[in-house]
Symmetry: C2
Subunit: 341 residues, 2 copies
Amino acid sequence: MRPTVHHVAEEAGVSLATVDRVLNRRPGVRAKTVTRVNEAIAKLGYVRDISAANLAKQRVYNLVFIIPEGPNSFMLGLESELGQAKLYSALERINLDILKVRAFDSDALANVLDGLDLTQISGVALVATESHRVQGALARLRQANIPVVTLVSDVSAAHRDHYVGIDNVAAGRTAASLMGRFVGHKPGKIALLAGSMLVRDHVERRIGFEQVISAEFPELDCLTVQEGRDDAMVTRSVLADFLGREPGIVGLYSIGAGNRGVIDVLTSKPEYGSIAVVAHELTEHSKRALREGVFDAVINQDAGHEVRSAIRLLKASIDETQVIAKQEIIRIEIYIRDNLP
Amino acid sequence: MRPTVHHVAEEAGVSLATVDRVLNRRPGVRAKTVTRVNEAIAKLGYVRDISAANLAKQRVYNLVFIIPEGPNSFMLGLESELGQAKLYSALERINLDILKVRAFDSDALANVLDGLDLTQISGVALVATESHRVQGALARLRQANIPVVTLVSDVSAAHRDHYVGIDNVAAGRTAASLMGRFVGHKPGKIALLAGSMLVRDHVERRIGFEQVISAEFPELDCLTVQEGRDDAMVTRSVLADFLGREPGIVGLYSIGAGNRGVIDVLTSKPEYGSIAVVAHELTEHSKRALREGVFDAVINQDAGHEVRSAIRLLKASIDETQVIAKQEIIRIEIYIRDNLP
DNA sequence: CAAAAATTGCTTTACGTACCTCAGTAACCT
DNA sequence: AGGTTACTGAGGTACGTAAAGCAATTTTTG
């Protein structure tokens, strides 16, 4: 039998009300008594029964997720995972509100953050674009004791409680190792294609990528980064242009989203078939590209895992409970044709 | 506000007791009334409050995990994850019992299964070795309405409710694709090292591996499978012998456990440094081997994820609730030096 | 030392579900 | 019609915790 508050009260020689005050940090208990109660808790190994507490509290967790709008598949995937999560989390008294802001627009993000009614909100998760205004808005949230989790794209550690996402430098390094091996120590040029060099995660991936290429595959030469704004149309024209201009390209690293455009260009000319391609984010398009041999590897972070992890972390912060650290690590997943889920 | 049993009772025009009888499948309700109640449930979108139900039920879930003993790192990892899970799951009224049987011994497994007191058990997870006796024992469990989940190694689908683990044929294919690319289309021989060809998962991995090698890398030649019994000592002598005997080996696929032995042999002679190595299971040893360039890639299944998934699946079976399907898919993880967790 | 303030105890109600008893009603069969 | 069976209702207690009000006690303060 697990000990209950009653046992704790008895053990500490105080009343149930006092135990309750201690447990819920309510005022009106002498420090000495608090200690006695805590000792009793430790001695009995008392752990609060979450089911019962939730029942009594009638608490609802109002979690706000802020994600960029725009038609790129990864964010659409994130949104659909959020929709899924919304269904299941209703069973656990969790309310998910999903807000969208313009991509790459930190002012819009700051506006949304400033507009939140802090009395109605128990936790916030956001895909961050960093700026002073955003930092200020986050500081205000944390001052109000509202936990903040960054998703996919981080801000500096001082402005959030957790980051849920991958180490993008390591992701870039991973891409480079794969690229180097797929090309197979033949000299040649590598094309880099990002969404925007203003986004921290893309910058970091590039850094990691070039680190490894220059250190371990010096026969490969990284060209200037092209920007496709994470948009299939833009990507298509930028990349078609670039490949036409630059002869001797043996590899392509697609750092951001907009895979559809990349696939279109690569399948447009047979001679592009020999280019080794490493891209990011597993979507229906990139899966197909892997199956058909257009892409050689895709680096992915699991959006569903990220959403669930963010929810667990926010809830744990609110309840002041522990999380299983290992479960919250987001993997840098490598997919090739053969290990697709 | 979420609807409660009271609302359902009112909506259906019956008493609370009747709703309760319907919900908990107790006898003594006319079919017509059952329908009325179910319609009310559907109309209101009533969902049982799990917290409250657990509290009232005072139910404890007694889950039994049966895993092979033996000193290989993967199983030790599984065990440690089970230990972890045991701590956390106590909070959710889940009791984990961990039983060990001799590895590769289906009779011992059947004995353990037959020895279970079915009245005391709510669910079973096991690392299966298949045999008629095991099948019979599993059938008995399922007849007693006890959900069965296989872990890491499967039996035929008729004898369990779920399989928690990876598709081992696909894992073998993945290993082969990586191997072929790492070797880089130079002709040569590939050494295969398994634990035992009596274990289904090892057989399947080999099949997948040879499929891809023969179809896409015909310049590579797979040699006879060597068996190391998933034991570092045995592996060491078997492999050292084999590599000494066979010249021209360019790649090694280590299908099972016993990585320590593999690493010892590979680092024993400098000329082995050029062999491309793909192994299974991420452990401290294999991580170090990746960092130091002894291994080129490791295929992994996340033991922690598997344990948590098995628990969730068993609990969902017992409670007759839904699971989030995507969350329960065990990935075929690829690790290289750069994406180690 | 008395008054004020702080601390503690006692008791009750509530959360939503499970499960029990007992009484009552309806339907069915002979 | 009478009896039997099958269903249904009413009401209660329980689970462990939260949260409140108010009384009683102790401690602090002037």
